[in-house]
Symmetry: D2
Subunit: 345 residues, 4 copies
């Protein structure tokens, strides 16, 4: 059994980690640390859990957490910088759900997150955990930087296109992404009240969102340096991301050609489903599951390829992919504990 | 392995049965019959399933269905009257999610459902499958009448009170129940359009709903003949039932006394959670799971006991309880395949 | 023109007052005071208003506010206790949307609101502004206590029954009320995040809500001292209240008899609509308007009369009724500025 | 007084026309025709209206309708082809909310709507009623083709850019649009059930939606022939459209420069609001009103200008703009009867 601990267990990503880990057949759930909520019972903080998790939340004691085999960090950005090192020294492996080890460049970190990166040695070591594209590195990693929710949806959507047809991309890729509200976390802010989000749809952070450089970095690995304009929106629902990726291309491939590349790439992927025919991804078809659904379209006349991507931001976009990475790190079948199908309707 | 088949697989209850049965470790999912949708692939009718279920939907061929060990019927009322007998003759056991075998009296059936009951011999044999209260009978049953969603919420809420304090009930019990829209089924009707249900809350069928006699029947078993006024409402959400049960009592017990009766009764129930302290049931804390949450309050001055009950209408209120009954019928641990915790948030 | 000012303009009730008053043909909108938001422009705090209101929000300066003809108070409870007197002395008339002058008994105020009532002389003078039932007193009032949202829905639903058949009421009246989230105000709290309210339905404050004594007080005026058990629920929508009122009766009147009493009472009421036939109130049919819709049902066998009531909690349940009271106080036709029909769908 | 009639009064656009016209100070509401619902009272079909409209719905009698001064057509496409001529002959002016007279080319109509255009003479005469850009032509028109909801949002967003900087547009414009469900009309279809739309977000008709050629046509008037890729999505809310328009440009103007063009163009427009600073359009800030909110952004490095646009699809996207056109046609102040501010929250 893998002994797993969580720091930041009381937020939505933390809760989702608890949901998946408590049902994981190879995991023994250890310390659930949560600063402000320490001392409360898990079922008090998360009434849905009932007595499925009987532990109380505990304070964030790194020594105690470091005794686990793997520690999941679901912390505000900046807080994992110091924690990761302590946990690694204690012998635990670390999966950081937060943003501290995602951008490979310290200066990019400074620019986008507004502080010095104080663990640059670990930054060099950290593996960006987009599982489908980094399996072997993840397997060996001590420290995994779990991708952001939007970058997961975007990179899964675009990497096959860039790999196969990257030389034909001509201009900035526009990613118009729409997210349910849980992506904003559990800390309520002005403008995020129920009454102001419900029956409302709004863009935010257009072109200045922190996930934009993360996506550009992840698409660049194939040798091309793509320019991405990332344009997120807040949608009146709890879970789900739908990314529409618009790629200007000179001589775009036909839809069949493009679709074949996607089908081929994902033929043996357990969590990526390529939709064909008239089907298009929809968030509800992934709700509560670790699936990411993809579909491609091509408009030759307008010189555009379009890739749609849907996933549950708290699962494949956070906790689910983290557990998937854990499975890879501990040499388990990748779907262990993750085989739940979506809840529909 | 239990070979299971479904008739009426394309509706919401059918889809939910597929969701639970495809992940059940002791079940081999057989024919999925669905009249109008026969010939379409399961993943076409239910995009969330992807290739988790590769079968096509088939026509409703009772001989084929009867070859299964157990057949779940998720049919419009009236259609199970003839089907049940054929399936039982073929050797299958039958769990009817519909209403045809719930009311024990043929004249009540005629009054509330508007047709003759043409299988009165089976009606006498059928076991009302409120699992927590009928385990031994369910275990032996060939034909189980799976309770309605509202009656499940209501009976689980009220039976301990009636059992312990039924002689103090003084007057009509009011059950004010609120349901998500999925309870109305997959067939869209006027007034059920998204735009007219969203941001809307409405009562319907107040005092004349078909679940009222079912609840009265189920509460009557303890010897008392309660009068229930059942008042359902439609709420702008997909899943979930919240029933508030108001019981006028002469000399009501104290809250502690009443709560103790509930805690005691459910101490070893895996799917009923009695909330204490200031906690009250909420539908989201049960979403996607087979739990039913209960809490009691007493207003001695006003001569009222109040019991709140929450569950997911498609799980404990339909498909989940059906699988729970199947587990009992086939001598499996009752929680087999049903241990998923709720999806939150 | 009536010069109107608002204290507490930045909350939801305040915003709704601004919406109605800026379009009122006999009102000149003056100071909009809002403690924390002072100095910001109205269109910044309320983007929907655009330049329909060009004023900046100001600090809460009672002298400045007192120069208006009428001041609306939309303040946290306790804050109107001192303010009302100062404004009346300055010559303004006051309509308090808050709770400080609703309960006639200082000890009830202390019990339910947890502080001394420090303006008992004004409490004696204040008129409870349920317009349909207090027109002549409201017309003369200097200080109007605008009813709470739930009490408005409940009292409009029950007063005709109590007036005509109050002697047959036998036992505690149960009011099971359901409200959209805007009733909880603009200050986000734990448990009120979008992700935890959406697709969720939950009871709260059952039997201990501050509106319970207000309803009992308001129903008592007919000479009977009714006992009310008030049981509110939070529903995943922004606006709207639906109250279901269950009245145990000895020898209840027939539905026709009861309905006739309601139709007769409201024949010339512009804002109360009595639904007949199979129609039942639904919140969306009142959304954005000052209407309250009512319907009655009777179950003679079970000794119950049931009255359903629907309204928009921010309009007839708050700002709209306040403007209606202002119209009465200033001798305008009662519907002036309030004739908008609901927004549907 | 203008005598106004409606054909197709029982759908959502029809209902919204009734809402605005019944409160319009210069309109006398005449025949409300609705094929299937003829004979039912308006308040039965639209419970929100109560007795604000006392008429019964009538059958579609063109002679009777033609006696009005203006007839609004809210019909399925194809049905206005014959009706328009009859009404014009009878002396009425016609505002067609549907699609029959929007595309100027009969072959485009055939291609996108699948039938012959049988009233090509009227097609040549019809004025495309994007009020802000066609006032003088609308004023003189006998027949106005009211723009589609998406084209209204898109054209208002893009025309100033094309007018000022059209020569710098380099490549296909991507319009990623998101709509509430009411845009799909009142006829429920499979996949449009509440339970399948709620908590769901899905693209549809990407690159093949009928509004794409309408938008291209409308942007082309300035001399440039833009290529538009139109990509609509269905969002779980009732009302509202948010269009994000991504324009690839060589040497894009600065944001200040672009914003100045928009502010200048709309300085005296009563219904177009250009947001500046950090504000971005959101649908709720327009809900129930005739406003369209715009904001611009520029990413010089990526060669992109972005324009966001929000409106209420049933108001500025349908019935409200139709009434605005009527005001222009009958020489009334353009805001007459349309001055309601949005309902918020």
């Amino acid at each position: 059994m893998i002994r797993a601990a969580i720091a930041g267990a009381s937020g939505y990503s933390g809760a989702e980690l608890v949901r998946w880990l408590q049902g994981h057949p190879e995991v023994e759930l250890g310390a659930l640390a949560a600063g402000r909520q320490a001392g409360r019972s898990a079922s008090d903080v998360f009434p849905h859990l009932g007595d499925a998790v009987t532990a109380d939340l505990v304070g964030t004691d790194w020594d105690r957490l470091g005794a686990a085999d793997v520690v999941f960090l679901a912390l505000p950005h900046g807080e994992a910088l110091g924690a990761a090192g302590r946990l690694l020294e204690a012998g635990a492996r670390v999966i950081d759900i937060g943003a501290d080890f995602r951008l490979q460049s310290p200066s990019a970190y400074r620019h986008w997150y507004g502080g010095e990166h104080t663990a640059t040695d670990l930054l060099a070591e950290a593996v960006y955990g987009l599982t489908e594209w980094r399996r072997s590195a993840v397997a060996r990693a001590r420290l995994v930087a779990n991708p952001g929710c939007y970058p997961t949806a975007s990179a899964l959507a675009l990497k096959p296109l860039f790999e196969h047809f990257g030389d034909r991309v001509a201009g900035a890729v526009v990613i118009d992404a729409k997210s349910g509200v849980s992506g904003a976390g559990r800390n309520a802010r002005d403008g995020y009240q129920y009454s102001e989000l419900n029956e409302n749809l709004k863009p935010y952070g257009s072109g200045v969102h922190r996930h934009q450089p993360e996506i550009e970095q992840e698409l660049a690995v194939s040798g091309v340096a793509p320019r991405v304009f990332f344009s997120p929106h807040l949608v009146p629902m709890t879970r789900g991301i739908l990314a529409a990726c618009y790629v200007p291309m000179t001589a775009p491939p036909s839809r069949d050609e493009l679709e074949a590349a996607y089908l081929d790439r994902h033929a043996s992927e357990p969590f990526v489903r390529v939709l064909t025919g008239s089907a298009l991804p929809q968030t509800k078809a992934t709700l509560g599951s670790n699936y990411c659904d993809l579909a491609v379209r091509v408009d030759a006349e307008r010189g555009l390829a379009v890739v749609f991507s849907a996933l549950d931001n708290l699962v494949k976009g956070a906790a689910g992919q983290a557990v998937q990475n854990m499975n890879v790190m501990f040499d388990l079948p990748e779907t262990t504990g993750l085989s739940a199908v979506p809840v529909f309707p």
